[in-house]
Symmetry: C2
Subunit: 563 residues, 2 copies
Amino acid sequence: MPSFTAPTADVRFALRQVVEPGSLDEDIAEAVIEGAGQIAADQWAPLRAAGDREGARWTPEGVKATPGFADAYRGFVAGGWGTIGIDERFGGQGLPFALQIAVYDLLGSANTALLLCPILNNGAVEAIAHHGSDAQKALWLPRLVSGEWTGTMNLTEPQAGSDVGALKTRATPRGDGSWSIKGTKIFISYGDHDMAENIVHLVLARTPGAPEGTKGISLFLVPKYRLDSDGRPGAFNDVRVVSLEHKLGLHASPTCVMSYGEDDDCIGEMIGPEHGGMRAMFTMMNNARLLVGLQGVHVSEAATQAAVDYARTRIQSPLAGSADRSSVPIIEHPDVRRMLLRMRAQTEAARALVYYTAGQTDRAQAGDPAAASRVALLTPLAKAHATDIGCEVTSLAIQVHGGMGFIEETGVAQLYRDCRVFPIYEGTNGIQAADLVTRKLDLDGGAAFAALLADMEADAQHGALRALIAQCRDVGARLGGAGVLDRLAASSPFLTMLSTAVCGWLLERQAGAASDEGNAFATRRRAATAFYLDQVVPHASGLAGAVSAPAAALYDLPSPDFA
Amino acid sequence: MPSFTAPTADVRFALRQVVEPGSLDEDIAEAVIEGAGQIAADQWAPLRAAGDREGARWTPEGVKATPGFADAYRGFVAGGWGTIGIDERFGGQGLPFALQIAVYDLLGSANTALLLCPILNNGAVEAIAHHGSDAQKALWLPRLVSGEWTGTMNLTEPQAGSDVGALKTRATPRGDGSWSIKGTKIFISYGDHDMAENIVHLVLARTPGAPEGTKGISLFLVPKYRLDSDGRPGAFNDVRVVSLEHKLGLHASPTCVMSYGEDDDCIGEMIGPEHGGMRAMFTMMNNARLLVGLQGVHVSEAATQAAVDYARTRIQSPLAGSADRSSVPIIEHPDVRRMLLRMRAQTEAARALVYYTAGQTDRAQAGDPAAASRVALLTPLAKAHATDIGCEVTSLAIQVHGGMGFIEETGVAQLYRDCRVFPIYEGTNGIQAADLVTRKLDLDGGAAFAALLADMEADAQHGALRALIAQCRDVGARLGGAGVLDRLAASSPFLTMLSTAVCGWLLERQAGAASDEGNAFATRRRAATAFYLDQVVPHASGLAGAVSAPAAALYDLPSPDFA
């Protein structure tokens, strides 16, 4: 199993770059980072490999978490680690969301599969906090916020994936204000487990006579156990796990096929207004998308550490051109070193993008509408680009390990497998790219995009970065005037291009501050930033051909002739 | 499990482009392609998923192949499918190597794990044919060529991976011309199995008093069973499989830890001269490297077919901007279609590169020294670039499948796992890139590289392609004058850049001929080629920053400070 060191210096640095001066006490931040780092290294990281090997198990009595997870999760709850960024009105600590991200960065880099449970819970809390009634908030939030109960998101059905509007789960009024829920949901992460005493499902469903498509969807809160008069979990609510999926990775996270109301005895309550499900879903998903972007950072961090570790200790061949013919650690060989520096640069790029968006979330929360727009604009970038980076960096980690990388016991193969779902769930990266070109470019009449470009142009120094930003401006303007199919044809490469520009901007801007963390940290940061600006940024400019290709080029080949 | 159709039209087309006129009877070629295609689809493809699930098994009596593999392999032997490209003097059919590649393309696209056994056998046959004595050829080749026995390559030891010269396995003279072999080898694919009656290991070892490093290595033939006086497998030769590796993929291919001479009773015979092991190894590996490149084509073909299939049948959301609001197959959505066309284009690019190199191998065989140099120059490109493409295309296949791609039963996750070793074994892709910049650029005093550039420049029409070729010329000239560390720092991105130029050249050059295979084929070919030239080629130009970065940029960060 690869060793793991909590990346506290990187986390502290990333956090400092995005927290508003005065909004966070330095001592508190330091205590939180140190504490979370210690739990990450001592308790969470050792469970990573076993969670992959043994995975969550379905039993007739319910899903059993992977060994050690329940204890680690209870420690997380007892320490209040998931309550940091949540409003004090709901039982949270009211600290910046960016600090919550820092904690999740540390814990998830140690064990991304375990952290997925709190991440999903976060989304459920947000949805109830924004759209629930006062009574619902009072009833459900305290224990969801504390983590004693966990929340899930139930969107997908076999015929309704990216097309959420195609879902068929039914909600029928029971006459007392509550609803009967009936239907099947798939791909429900942590849909069941034995780490918490209740599980609160947020379920999208259709009410009688509801309009077709997304307009007719409502959101329901459906607990595994109904609450008794004391507000404690009581009677079983006819919520069953039919099976667990057999997945490529993330084995410790149970991915459930859920059946609601098999015995017609599943009761839910509506959250928000009837047919208001999509809005609530977006609330639920927005932070979740950013947190999935953070999962890309998790695996990148873990993979980079493992690869650097291996490359420092694996001795193989003398250095080319050296008079000394004794063999050296492979980190000394140029192509291995290039891979490691690339991994480091990409990890820092992804981390900068996610933290920056989190910092803007805090500003938006404090009432800054421009920051809210920036969050909306950057969320698809953070989700898609950071998860693409996760896939690339974990693949490089395997490559650095050579043959050992293909052996499961080494542990990097797990990271490579685990992360492959990140570009898929919470809206595929294609959906993120579509969101960027069809909604976000036009946000506030295009002002959000223009403001981002202006900020980048004001700061950027490196020639390749300035060129890339100018390209983004041109492409954005052209896509703004293009038809929707042309926009979509260019969407994914444009998302990569713009994300790379944003990451380059953030890394360059932050380079000066790195000396606060010590000389070694500053040197690493400088080398990684230079690599990013000199190598990654110009490569993104090479997407010029892809972003200017019209949709027609894709349709010249009729669908039946693709294979 | 994904459906599989033998890609006979693609194979026929690719073959026609590279076979010398008059060197191959059309009817024979057609019969071979049709026959291999049928076996691929009917017998090999159905074993793919089971081979992943059940894998090869270690038992005290030896390794058991995955269910169905032994029968399929025996059918392969009976049909003489592995003998096509081998010289008639050694019991082969003496047909072009390119036709052998065509057969391996069809069979391996159906089941790359099973085909790996014949691929390795091919390398063993080449080594014995080129370096063995007449007596050795007479004794060993007939049954290795037929496939009744299978051959392996034993290079790697725990401390000797890319650094082959560090190996410690010992060969001691027994006084009768034979040698006692003692040592441990790791990562030996098909090191044991029950599909053939004997296994012939080609083992690199060190003789007493041999010089350090690669100069002191000799090659030994070490059978699992010694031959009796009738030349039949007889006494056990103290060759043991200690264990099988637990791998990310390719589960059906047993990756063995081999122990030679545990009881000091393992006898081998030397192939070629003492200390001539490296030369023999390169003979063994050269074709093998091209055939590993072909494995990249295998998984790309299978993944593209699976993704196109899924995208044609998965209905989700109306087409953006369309007045018709009914949901459409996802192949109609621009970003999905872009992924599919990219997969198709990259698969055809990899196939063109591998076949072209195979065709040049046939010309070299016929005595053309320029072709031999071109094979030497292109082999690292074919191995590295085609396997990189395999990883990219299988990842895209998962993405097209969305959540279903992460579920093992869908079958594309297997392809993604299986192929991850291709950029590693038979010389990592980093080793290939090093070979390119430190040996192949200077081959024939630089004439081989210059001739390739001249051929490309003479043909290329597309502006982006001409620009990329010009870049390759500049970079090649600059690297030629650079120090070895600077060459190596640029090696991997330069390999990608040059490979993309070669693929673009081949695809553009072949576009006109596609109409021979029918309109649908020609349309697909045209669309894929246009995509490649318009999108993939300009992106490779974006590597300009990476190929001009000096090694110093990598060493600014001291090794202890990488993480």
